[in-house]
Every structure is written in structure tokens, then in C-alpha cells.
Amino acid sequence: MTAVTDRQKLQYIAAKAADSRVNVELETEGMILNMGPQHPATHGTLRIVAKLDGEQVVAAEPIAGYMHRGYEKLTEVRTYPQITALVNRIDWLGSFANEVPFILASEQLMGIEAPPRAQWIRTLLFEMSRVANLILFLGDMGVQLGAVTPAFFAFRDREFVLDQIEAVTGGRFHPNFDRIGGLKDDLPKGWLAETKNVMNKVRSFCDQIEGLLMNAEVFATRTRGIGVIPADVAMQYGLSGANARASGIDWDLRRDAPFGFVYPELDWKVWTHPDGDSFARFWVRLQEVRESTKMIDQICDGVPGGPIMAKVPRIIKVPAGEAYVTTENPLGEMGFYIVSKGELAPFRVKIRSASFNNVSITPWLLRGVYVPDIITILASLYFILGDIDR
């Protein structure tokens, strides 16, 4: 008799098992859907591993780290002026805003304050990077929900804002413009008037998005009541920025801790929404863009004259000590914790980036939703991979 191989034995057992199973009952089993790291909806390299029952998510887990660039460690071998070039690349859509908290923390350690003109222009560029960033969100939300046209409008109108940023700083994406004690350069001639023109364009873009996307019936059915975050849960997970404000938490560091900025001198409003769903997050960001354009107009009118640099030593050595400064960045609260031992480079830098906390809520939020809603929720939470992985 020929020898029975292990493979044949296994096939026999499997066939028997399959036969017996048919007679008992049909079993259903879950499916594990791996979204990312390469997936159109994760705009970057976030990976979501979702366990599905049919189209319903049983459990979902975000896996970050595919784009980790080690900026916290890199800062330890860079001098302070060099670090702004690194932190530019954290939230790459609103680059200038990343530099500001780092510079403010360094200034705090050195006991320097930027002159008023520098503070005004800093606030101006900070808000412009917010506009450039959130415009893209407004268009991208449409793409994620299937409407392609708003994205083209977003890219078209963001270009005007980027042109203005480039005119001042020389860089569209990575300005590297903020300096300890002030700014690198002054504004070019005629720039303020042109900026006000651009803000008019941004406002009409907001109206367009409101008509095309937000008032569309389909958009409301896809976003209303999807991914509801109650205020207490939002606080537990450390959500910040528009995500927290959309849950009804009236908290904005621009108003509550405007250290180093000129926000108290401007007339503006913090928008909140009581619902906490995807629609609310979209709505709050739309209103924020409008508020920012108003602020930029006011700053353009009110920029004082004077120097743009305080007196700083030629070689910057930050005295020993610790400082933590947070600002209200486009994506939420961003903080730099700097420990200095009095050398050319910081001893340790800890970056608190908003997206990392904002995404950490996804396992809680995605439980029980349908697959299409994963996309809605991720789009409405609005993260940028550079901001998660640093």
C-alpha cells in the first residue's frame, strides 16, 4: 500500500470537516479590512485595520508611524535657528504655524519679546497658514464623500493664499521665516492691499463651498449624526481645535492664551457647534476660515510700524531652563516643551501635535459604523500625517 502523505491526510480531514459543517448551519465570519498605508482616504500613510461584520465595523485600530521622521530627536543635534526648518514639515499644509510655538517657547526661555510689528505680522502669517490649511480641508471633505468639484475650487483658491505667503517668505510650503526675537524680513511693498483682495476671494470660496457642498442634501445625510463625539469624551481623548469646538467645547487658545499674538486687539468670534458630528466639524472649520479672513483684513489695516527684530545675540544660546508653549494651530493645539541646558542645541524637545490626539479617538469612534462612514469620520477629524508621526 502506498504511503499516505501528511498533505493527503490533511485534505481528507478538511473535506470531512467541510461536509459536516454544511449539515449543521451556515457560519458567517468577520473580515479584516486593511485600509492603508496606501489608500486614497488616509491622505498620507495612516493605516486603519478594521474588523468588519458585513459592512459594519466591529473594531478598528489606527496604526501610525509609517512616516516617522524623528524630529524630536533631530532637534537635539540642531541649533535653535536651524530647528524652524525642521518643524515646518510637521503640518505641511500650514507650515508657518508650526514654527510659532517653538519660537515663542525659545523666546520665553531667553526672556526676549518680539517688537509689536513682528507680533502683528506673525499673527497675520499664522492666520494665513490657517486659511491655506483649512481651505484644503473644505475641498477634501467633498472628495472623500464623492464630490470631486469642490477640491478643484479649493486648490485654485489656496494658490492665491500660497502666493501671498511666498511673496513674504520666499517659500510656498515651508517658509522657515520666524526667528527668535522677530521675523526674517519685512513685508514687501503693496502686499497688504493684495492680501485683502485674496481674502475676498477666500470668502467667496467659502460661499461657494457652502452652496455646493454644505447645503447639498446628500452631504447632510452623509455627515449629520455620523461620528458623534460628546463633549466629555472629546475632553478625555484630548481633542483640540475645531474637533473640540464642534463638540460644544468653547475653548480656543487664540482667545484664552494669546501669549505672543495680537488676538485681543482684533474683533473676532470663536465658533462652536453643539452637535459633535461630522457635519459640525465641517461647519466649524468653514466658519473659522471666514473668521480668519476677517482677522487678516483687520491686521492688514492695523499693522504698526517699527522694527521687526528685537535685539538678540549673534549666536543664540538659550539659558538653562524649561518652557512649554501651546498655540491654536490649524489642526488644533500644538505645543513645544523645550528643555535647555544652556547650549547651542536644546537638550530635549517634546512636540505635542494636534493630529496625534485627534486620531487617537478613532478606535472609540469607529466602533459600529459602516465602512463608508469610516471615510467620513476620518475626513472630518482632519489629520495630517506629518502631524501624527512627526
Partner: protein, 350 residues
Amino acid sequence: MIQAVLHPMFGLELAYWQETIIRVLLGLVALLLLTGGAVYLYLFKFVSFMQSRLGPMEAGPYGSMQLLAEVGKWLQKEDIFTEDSDKFIFGIAPAVVLASTFLMFVVIPAGPSAVVADLGTGIYFVLAMSSLSVIGILMAGWASANKYALMGALRAGGQLIAYELPLVLAVLGVVISAGSLNLQDIVAAQSDGAIFGWTGIGNPYILTQIVGFGIFLIAVQAELTQTPFDMPIAESELVAGYQVEYTGIRFLVYFIAEFATAVAFAAVASTLFLGGWQLPGAWGLSDGAMNVIGPLMISTKAVLLVGVVFWVRFSLPRFREDQLQKLAWKVLIPLALANIVVTGVMKVVF
């Protein structure tokens, strides 16, 4: 038509099979030309205009040869079969989808005798053939051995079957009004009709069957899996749904099938609701003249209706799977049934 043209000119007497081959080839060419035209006009240019960009400009004047360039690109690409896929089913699935499209086009009349096959049950045949495509899509999704493809195919299956119903029910109103399933009869009923005794433009059924027309267009949008009903291919979540593993010529076949189906459905809609190949008011032209003018008439109407499909597609976000089913079962089907009842009553009253 072919006999009428060829016999006096060349003294040719064609056999049945020869005439059939010529008819089929003419039908194919007409469908592909219309599809190419619609893709260039709407997908490339009209949409670019909507989205404030230029669209293709390099290939040919104003990018008019772009589609040929694209086809050339697709033909050159490697035809990839994934390792776990069911090779045979995976290979023939696009052909099934394409066949369903071409078969739909067979009975659509473009003139008194310019039709591939004048079936007595014309509209019934069109609707039956259009629902064949769901089989091709399910085959593609299952044979791809890909989770995204499978989910896309299952969504497509649910959606296409759900929207078959409002489609058929919307057509029923027209069939009741015309009293025939034959598309030529439906065209004749519209051109012979009268609006309160005024026979100026006949009585295109878009006037009396406006509800049915709306339901038909919505259901067509869903049958074509175009936004807002493009959940099966939802590129932001399922990447490309059931098409995700297809490359090269097989993807090209899906692409052609998608837009050719749009043209075919638009031609059906213009036949049912807009008077088909007939000129408004008929003008008393001879059959020979109408065999030339008719194709132009129905092409114009169909291409305009395809424009509506693309206009909606690039304006709206997409529905979720359950919301889409809800729309079909809770809104469109009751509305279509009510439309049938009202049409029946009106038919008896007038």
C-alpha cells in the same frame, strides 16, 4: 434602410445575413462614436469647465484626440491577473458587461427602418439586457480575490437590483400611455399625439410622464453607478470597487461599457420621453429622409441627456449604501407605483 439606399444606387440585392451584419456593424460604430463624443464633450471638457481647469489640450485641436491617446495607452498596458483570481471568470467578466451594453442598443430605433432589430417587445428587451451587467460585475468582484473588489461587487449587486424596479415601473407609465412595448410604436404614439387638441409638436411623454421621466433619470444614474450612487466604485473608500484589479484592455472595456451604457440609457430615455428619432411635429418628411435625419435627432437628444448624467455626477457627493437603498424602496418605487395608477386612470378618463 440599407436596401432602400443600396438597391437604387448600385442595384445590389442583399441577403438577410449580409444586411444583418451591416446593421450590427453600423450599430456598433454609432454607439462607439456617440460614446467617444460624449466622453470628450463631457468627461473631458464640460467637467473641466465646471472645475475651472482646461482639461486635455495637447492631443489634437483642443485635446480632441485625447481619447484615442488614452485608448492607446490602455492597450499597451500589461494585462495583469492576480495570483489568487479565478482566471477564466476574471477574464470574461468585462465582456459580459460590455455585451449587456451592446445588446441594449440593438432595439433602439434611429429612424423608420434604421434599427438593428425591431422587436415587438422592444423596451422589455432593453430592460432585461441592461440588468445583465450585474452578473458581470458580481463575476468581476468575486473572481478578483480582493476584499475591496468583493465589497464593491456586492454593493453593486444590491444597488443595481434595487434600482431595476423603479426603472421598470417608470417605463410602465409610458407603455400604458402608448399602448405598446415596441419602441417604434412608442415613437409613433408621441409624434401622432396631441396636447389638448394641438398637434404642433405631437405629445412627447416628458409632458404627461414628467414624474416617470424623473424617476427614470435617477434610476439610470444608479444603474450606471455614477455619483451620487457610485458606492460600488467609491474611489475614496473602496479604491475602485470591482474594477480594482483590472488593468489594460480589460479596464478599457469597463470604461467603454460605463459610458456606452450611459449613451444607451440616454437613447432609451429620449425614445421613451422625448419623441425618439422623430422631429417635433414630424414635418411630413419621407421615410428615406427620416432615416438620415432620425439618427441625428436621437443622437442629439441622447448626448444632451448624457450631459445631465455628468452634470449630476460632478456636482453631488455620494449616498451611503443604506441611504441609497432607502431612496429606492421608500421613495422611488412608491412614487413610480402611484404614477402608474394615475396614468392608468388618466388613460381611461381621456
